[in-house]
């Protein structure tokens, strides 16, 4: 007991997320034992049973390190975000969702009503009475409450103050391991924490820096989709006319996707100091279109059927515009 008392507290939480971050964390292998050896895990829904009220009972700032993954989609997410912020000394936005919205944030292109309707009416849904979830429901056991969806998804730091950012969908296990090491070394007084607000567990350059493919000057006359081409394994994917987010995406993943013959889709988010990730891609891709003729340019651009999906795949919530008009246009 006394030993565990001495151990600093660790928490990990998933808000609007897929659970991939947890898996990546467990993927660190034995590293996870170091976590157990050096921390007392007080709250980690995936790994152990715990109740919100237990956390609420804790003293403010009593948790040393909280890895928060998942975006803020509903009032529950927001509530826990505030709660853990209060209880934690170090709050890390962990993984793409918490950092910039990730896939869940692509929902920001549509209104909640549309999303609900799609979810509960489309062919694949067996819902003959056209039922809808209700935030409040009188059940014999008493009033039931399910979390209320917000008009759109937000990133963690749009809701609470965040100490560190750890990008990736999910963050690479070796990066997680490195971060765990760092924190432990700090605990043992062997290292210093980086300045507040910095990005940890990632590189300072972009994916191209780690990509082994040969790069040349770029002029694109046609955009192709990956399923329509056989890519040359040694040449820059973008030069082959397939959108690749590598040039704009923070390094740190060892360029896994390009190495595996598939373009980078940008999960590590923007490079240092970039304000709007998508616009970096828009401007870069736009600049190398191989035509000066408006009609021709439009024809070439037809090769990009879903621009927002391609350029803001991971970053919509974190972008300047944050959400499309339908998402924030108040109905009725």
């Amino acid at each position: 007991m006394t030993e565990t008392q001495a151990k600093p507290k660790f928490a990990m939480y998933w808000a609007a997320s897929c659970g991939g971050c947890e898996i990546a964390t467990l993927n660190t292998g034995e590293k996870i034992l170091d976590v157990d050896a050096n921390f007392e895990v007080v709250f980690w829904p995936v790994a152990m049973d715990a109740k919100y009220k237990d956390v609420e009972a804790m003293e403010d700032g009593s948790i040393l390190l909280t890895l928060f993954n998942g975006a803020i989609r509903n009032d529950e997410n927001e509530h826990i975000a505030h709660l853990l912020r209060r209880k934690s000394k170090i709050l890390v936005a962990f993984g793409s969702c918490a950092n910039e919205g990730c896939m869940p944030a692509l929902a920001n292109l549509s209104s909640v009503q549309d999303i609900i309707d799609t979810a509960f009416t489309t062919l694949t849904t067996d819902n003959p009475q056209g039922l809808r979830p209700q935030p409040e429901w009188e059940a014999p056991e008493g009033k039931l409450h399910i979390p209320t969806m917000y008009p759109f998804v937000r990133t963690l730091d749009q809701v609470v103050d965040v100490d560190y950012y750890m990008p990736g969908c999910p963050p690479e296990s070796h990066q997680i391991a490195a971060v765990i090491d760092l924190v432990i070394q700090v605990l043992q007084g062997k290292a210093e924490l980086p300045p507040k607000g910095s990005v940890i567990g990632a590189g300072d350059s972009t994916v191209c820096d780690e990509c082994a493919r040969k790069r040349d000057v770029k002029v694109i006359h046609e955009f192709k989709r990956i399923q329509h081409v056989i890519l040359d394994p040694n040449i820059c994917i973008l030069e082959q006319g397939v959108l690749c987010s590598g040039p704009a995406t923070r390094s740190g993943c060892k360029a896994l996707c390009p190495a595996a013959g598939s373009p980078c889709i940008g999960c590590y988010g923007p490079a240092e100091g970039v304000i709007d990730y998508g616009s970096r891609l828009i401007t870069a891709v736009g600049s190398v279109i191989g035509s000066n003729n408006p009609d021709e340019i439009e024809r070439i651009l037809d090769g990009i059927p879903d621009p927002v999906g391609s350029f803001y795949r991971f970053n919509l919530a974190g972008s300047l515009l944050q959400a499309a008009k339908p998402a924030w246009t108040v109905k009725g």
Partner: protein, 674 residues
């Protein structure tokens, strides 16, 4: 992130009345007051308004505040930065503040002069200033780049303007390259017989200058050549010139002219003789040509076309003919460039009802110049197309292709005087009855109107009205075999039909057919009608927007010989001034690549037209060469990693300015309950 939450800058804001130019539409006091209160939290410590900020008193005001209040940034709201940016930067400099920490925002050209609603204009001024303040926070102290000036100058075009410019510079002792597209310099002036209003012989006054230009030790004359490429920037241009093969070895040729006598091939000379006369396949355009060496025109030379003849070669006493000559590319470094490429004549075929090209005896002004020229095809005899008949009546039509919305809106400015000259010559040499058809008579320069009076007294008829049509369709016996000029005489308000033997179309001046390529080649811009744009229409008529490139003569707009000469000399003076300074200072607006951030994706690599971006394959990073960078910022905007930054126009500067500009209405938004 990019917004300095609590700027620790001390900013001074200065709002100019510009007399009533700004204060007339904008409540400047209110604007200054607003800035002092509402922008305090952004670091504004003082905001003043003053009658004329650009006056020495106004500048002292700024300098005083910098010294006493220790300002670290200055925002001046006055006229366009293109007018007074330098003024206020200098003021800051004098007060010991880095000149680039000053931002001049325009509330005159962009506000008071274009708006009428006082409230709106005042609000907009506030927004503009807020933008300036947000932006200036992010300004960085910069030092202007200094580059040495290459003493040599390139003059393009060997017409009178170009010759004048070249001579002025050469006489001052600096090297000049004078490039001419044709075999000889002289330009249009060499084609004329007399010059208005003095009627002195064009050749007599031009040829001495030509000879001077041809022999001057400081002038390298490169005729039969064209500029094909221009690189670099003020002080350090690298120019590529295509020297077309002359097929005559200028080392050996002494210009005796035997080759021209012996050449069996006659060719119609469309350029110098305006299509009225012939030349040989080997030729100098005219006897006094400079340089005196002939050229062989490959397209028409029997030897080049059929492989036989070589008459010129046989008879050349100095064996100067060399059929093996090839086109050469000459490379040279120059510090500055003067463009004097002149004009082309409006093609009257574009006005079909005037019958030029269909009706034999309708002539263009240039054709008539050649007719009157003693050295011309008719030896100066004014005759009809048949070569013998002397016209008894001559009609001169003004404004052909000028002051006409179907063709050119502008006035070609020389046509009135030229037509008067024609009237005089025709009357003097043929005793013909001469009719001038004009819209307005424009004779504004020195002793021009006197000449008009003189021609009036000589009995020339002046009919005020735009000619409707010229045809040979006679209505009555009196019109038989004549050209009938149909015109409304607007002074008597009647339609008139004037039968004449000869019609001279006083065709307007137009930009060279290839003016667009020229503009592109030298990175200049043309106005809608195709003349090159000067830096300022009144105060800077010979400079262009591009440092180190000047314009002279008709390339800038229609003008007569005196005006062209003046501009040639003015441009030369500018060039000499710069050369004297030995070096030019350039705006330190440059792009730089953060080597650590750059991942070598090479997106930027083919975006720079100045080839300023080089890629280090070894380190897989790109780098910008500041000497070549022109500061356009295209690569800055393109870098996907945000690794390229641009001084003077950084992301932070622009983004903050946007915030500032929107500050006001964002407030309004908040005021309005959503």
């Amino acid at each position: 992130m990019h917004e300095k939450e609590h700027p620790n800058e001390k900013i001074g804001v200065y709002v100019c009345h510009c007399g009533s130019n700004i204060a007339g539409t904008v409540d400047v006091e209110d604007v200054a007051k607003w800035a002092a209160e509402q922008l305090k939290h952004r670091g504004v410590v003082i905001a003043r308004d003053y009658k004329f900020m650009c006056s020495s008193l106004g500048q002292e005001l700024i300098e005083k505040d910098i010294k006493e209040l220790g300002l670290t940034r200055v925002v001046v709201a006055a006229c366009s930065p293109h007018l007074h940016e330098l003024t206020f930067r200098t003021a800051c400099k004098n007060a010991g503040l880095n000149p680039y920490l000053c931002e001049l925002v325009s509330i005159r050209e962009q506000c008071s002069w274009v708006h009428t609603n006082r409230t709106a204009a005042t609000e907009k001024s506030k927004a503009i200033i807020a933008g300036g303040v947000e932006r200036v926070i992010w300004h960085e102290p910069l030092t202007p780049l200094k580059v040495p000036i290459h003493p040599a100058t390139l003059v393009v075009g060997g017409g009178i303007a170009g010759i004048q410019a070249a001579l002025e510079i050469a006489d001052a002792g600096y090297p000049v390259y004078l490039v001419e597209r044709e075999p000889s310099i002289g330009g249009h002036m060499a084609q004329f017989d007399k010059t208005f209003p003095t009627l002195d012989c064009s050749a007599c006054i031009l040829t001495p200058k030509m000879v001077l230009a041809g022999t001057h030790p400081n002038i390298t004359l490169i005729s039969w050549a064209e500029v094909t490429h221009v690189d670099g920037y003020v002080g350090n241009f690298q120019v590529t010139i295509k020297q077309k093969p002359r097929y005559v070895n200028t080392e050996l040729c002494n210009g005796c002219g035997i080759c021209q006598e012996k050449c069996p091939k006659k060719v119609i000379d469309d350029i110098f003789e305006a299509g009225l006369g012939n030349r040989k396949a080997v030729y100098t355009p005219f006897p006094q040509a400079v340089p005196r060496y002939p050229v062989i025109d490959r397209e028409n030379c029997t030897y080049f076309q059929k492989g036989t003849c070589r008459a010129c070669e046989k008879f050349c006493p100095t064996n100067a003919i060399d059929f093996t000559q090839k086109e050469e590319l000459l490379q040279m470094d120059v510090g500055q460039i003067i463009l004097a490429t002149g004009y082309d004549l409006f093609d009257p075929r574009r006005i079909p009802q005037y019958g030029y090209g269909r009706l034999a005896n309708v002539f263009t002004s240039l054709e008539f110049e050649r007719l009157t020229n003693a050295a011309g095809p008719t030896g100066g005899k004014i005759v009809l197309r048949d070569g013998v008949t002397v016209p008894k009546t001559v009609g001169i039509v003004h404004c052909v292709g000028s002051r006409d919305k179907n063709y050119n809106n502008y006035c070609s400015s020389i046509c009135c005087m030229q037509s008067l000259k024609f009237a005089h010559l025709a009357e003097e040499r043929t005793g013909a009855e001469v009719y001038n058809f004009y819209i307005d008579m424009r004779t504004p320069a020195k002793s021009y109107d006197e000449f008009y009076q003189r021609v009036l007294e000589e009995g020339t008829h002046f009919i005020r009205g735009r000619v409707a049509s010229i045809s040979d369709a006679a209505r009555n016996p009196g019109e038989e075999g004549k050209l009938i000029i149909q015109v409304e005489d607007t002074l008597i308000g009647k339609q008139r039909r004037i039968p004449v033997d000869m019609v001279i179309l006083s065709a307007g001046l137009e930009p060279r057919r290839d003016h667009k390529e020229t503009a592109r080649l030298f990175g200049l811009s043309c106005s809608a009608d195709g003349w090159l744009i000067e830096r300022h229409p009144k105060l800077d008529p010979v400079a262009t927007m591009t440092e180190g490139i000047l314009i002279a003569g008709c390339v800038q707009g229609p003008k007569d010989i005196p005006a062209s000469v003046v501009q040639g000399a003015a441009a030369a003076a500018r060039v000499l001034g710069k050369i004297q300074q030995k070096e030019v200072t350039m705006e330190p607006i440059r792009a730089t690549v953060d080597q650590d951030k750059c991942s070598g994706c090479r997106i930027c690599n083919n975006l720079c037209p100045f080839n300023a971006i080089l890629f280090h394959a070894d380190r897989a990073v790109s780098e910008v060469n500041p000497a070549l960078c022109q500061g356009c910022g295209t690569c800055v905007a393109a870098c996907p990693a945000g690794a390229i930054s641009g001084t003077g126009f950084s992301d932070q500067q622009v983004l903050s300015q946007i915030e500032g500009l929107l500050m006001l209405n964002v407030r309004q938004l908040e005021a309005v309950p959503a």
